[in-house]
């Protein structure tokens, strides 16, 4: 459970930092009148949807941290037989990186009010995300063909579970991206699209980051890293 405890500690640090900015030591019973509100002081107060996405990412992050915790607890047992890493996984990773870059491109373009590049970015981002998902299905197929069935070994089960969870989150993102593209199609002003595009880009970066961590875990890189940390601590 150390992964999820570390994750929660990270969130607690962020929450603590945020709370420390909220004047929790004030004495509200002595203060009458119109208190200055922090949200009004900072003009760059983020819109509700962005805060909402941030909270959601924290929740999704907790989900993945828990999967990682369960995975690392389970790997230590005797019957664990690691999976081979299909080469296609690296191609998929590259495609997901392209997807993330394309959405960032769209975000930069929407800030410049450059409609053509917004469309290019969104469509390339969406298409490469779909390609990534198809690639993941092919990986499943390859493993299945070579006899690494879901129920055969816990390593297999975890591989399918973790990739499926990540893929489902990406599908959810594609729904939001599809709605954004539809808005562009209908000719909604770019100014009003800015937030949607930005949120899509943030979500994609998050899923890319999660994927890189999961990939490190599934390919066994993180083992070395964890071992180094453990040696440092003991």
């Amino acid at each position: 459970m150390s992964a999820v405890v570390l994750y929660m500690a990270g969130l607690a640090a962020i929450a603590g930092w945020w709370l420390s900015q909220q004047r929790l030591a004030s004495k509200p019973w002595l203060e009458e009148g119109l208190a200055a509100d922090l949200r009004e002081e900072s003009l760059s107060s983020p819109p509700a949807a962005k805060v909402g996405l941030g909270v959601f990412l924290a929740v999704a992050g907790a989900l993945f941290a828990l999967l990682i915790s369960a995975y690392s607890m389970r790997t230590n047992m005797a019957d664990w037989r690691s999976l081979p890493v299909p080469r296609l996984l690296w191609v998929n990773t590259g495609v997901l990186v392209i997807s993330s870059i394309a959405l960032h491109w769209a975000y930069m373009a929407v800030r410049r009010n450059d409609l053509d590049n917004v469309i290019v970015g969104l469509v390339v981002g969406g298409a490469s995300a779909v390609t990534f998902l198809i690639g993941q299905l092919l990986v499943w197929h390859q493993l299945d063909v070579s006899g690494y069935f879901l129920a055969k070994n816990p390593a297999n089960a975890f591989f399918y579970l973790i990739t499926a969870t990540h893929g489902l989150h990406l599908i959810g993102g594609l729904v939001a991206l599809g709605r954004t593209i539809a808005k562009v199609w209908r000719g909604v002003e770019l100014i009003r699209l800015r937030l949607s595009v930005e949120l899509c880009a943030i979500y994609w970066h998050f899923l890319l980051l999660v994927w890189l961590v999961l990939l490190g875990l599934l390919t066994g890189w993180t083992d070395d890293f964890v071992n180094i940390c453990r040696q440092l601590l003991t």
Partner: protein, 591 residues
Amino acid sequence: MVDIPIDEVRDIPPAEVADVELYHPRSWWTRYVFCQDAKVIAVQYSITAMAIGLVALVLSWLMRLQLGFPGTFSFIDPSQYLQFITMHGMIMVIYLLTALFLGGFGNYLIPLMVGARDMVFPYVNMLSYWVYLLAVIVLAATFFVPGGPTGAGWTLYPPQAILSGTPGQDWGIVLMLASLILFIIGFTMGGLNYVVTVLQARTRGMTLMRMPLTVWGIFTATVMALLAFPALFVASVMLLLDRLLGTSFFMPTLVEMGQLTKYGGGSPILFQHLFWFFGHPEVYIVALPAFGIISDLISVHARKNIFGYRMMVWAIVAIGALSFVVWAHHMYVSGMHPYFGFFFATTTLIIAIPTAIKVYNWVLTLWRGDIHLTVPMLYALAFIITFVNGGLTGLFLGNVVVDVPLSDTMFVVAHFHMVMGIAPIMAVFGGIYHWYPKVTGRMLNEALGKFHFWVTFLGAYAIFFPMHYLGLLGVPRRYHDIGDTAFIPASAHDLNAFMSVAALIVGFAQLVFVFNMIWSLTKGKEAGGNPWGATSLEWQTPETPPGHGNWGKELPIVYRWAYDYSVPGAKRDFVPQNEPPAGLLAQGAHP
């Protein structure tokens, strides 16, 4: 806090929300059924939660009938007894208390108390309720599928939860897990709303440290729930895969009915870690909103400001954070390294500090207050007593050496019913008697309310106080029939019969409450806008019940904290949060 001196403020621009942002119902369906107004969603959540809660109440009757009069009721066989236990626990903890506190009280009170027009994502909020309703329907469906609901105990521990021999192995457990997954998805949608509304939609002047403690409690509990429920989600999905697809996340190699199963190598302890990583914060997810509600009830009905507001806020935050590092105290008998046991016992006992601070502050708020023994106040006092009672037995169970012999006895059942059964329900009732006039515009009948209170409070003690003693005698929990066990004296059976009679009476008293809620809807005394003389914003709405959008044309402006009761020199014994200071009134600000 940086305060602007009053005389510098000439004209305060009211914070206005553009009309387009507000959702407007267009037909009967979108006004009352598929409604995006948080107040309607709150009522929908509350009614659904209470309806399924009544089912769980009937289940507890059936369990008590069996325990009190073993052998008399032939229709309760051991399998059914286990099914009743499981469904009673699951419904009460998750589908009643969590949904009612966060979905019901949260939806109704957060926007009104922080001075918002609605939740920030009304559509997602509506979706949250319908997914919750679906989860409840799937849960209720397990009573009618072949094999009936699961009898695995509310903790659903594998391997027994999905092995044959456990009731409901075919359908019950599958639907139970599916229902939990749905509930968590639905809750996450609602939870995002509650958190972001508190963060982003507070009205002008409503700083965090001016929020009523109810909002603090619900806010912190929601943050915890958002982070803790994923653990149950992961555990449910993995257990479902084990059951349906034959994976071995949790299932060790084992022999079932003389046959070697297809499972191998899984870790049941892993499930326990995941389950309790959710399960312990869940205790505080239910307790923190109760803490908040009780703080407000006590302050209003004792006409006194809450003692140590800052400490109360810090304690809520500290409890929320600490509750994530105590989960393994539910697993002392599962086998763990002694140092782990020591660590978790220490963190468990540390939580007692912020909790005790809250209890002291409630008592000090009451000290020399002008205590009105209204029904909400009676419930608030009962909450404090019950919570202290349950908290003290928690100190016993938090220590490894004391916990091990008491584990799986009725002492544990008595402890958690006191601390997270009776105590939160006292807060729920107190809250309903307190806010019902705002929701409906009419008061609940006071005489019926007092009858309901005394029967429920004394009756609950008649059930659960002797249960501690049974636990110390060694009476085990989850047993259909303890029979003639050598170390259990005959008097324990008499005590069991007494407790069962008390449980039946308490259950019937709840019908009085249901009747009161329905009857008062049309026949209750007209309440007016602010029957209790309370300061917080929900009592200052232009209409009662609050209209669509909560506030008339302009949002309220907040000038003070929520606890200005009996202020020396003030005209009335309470000063509403949105009443401008005297200096401002003279300059013609909006009253």
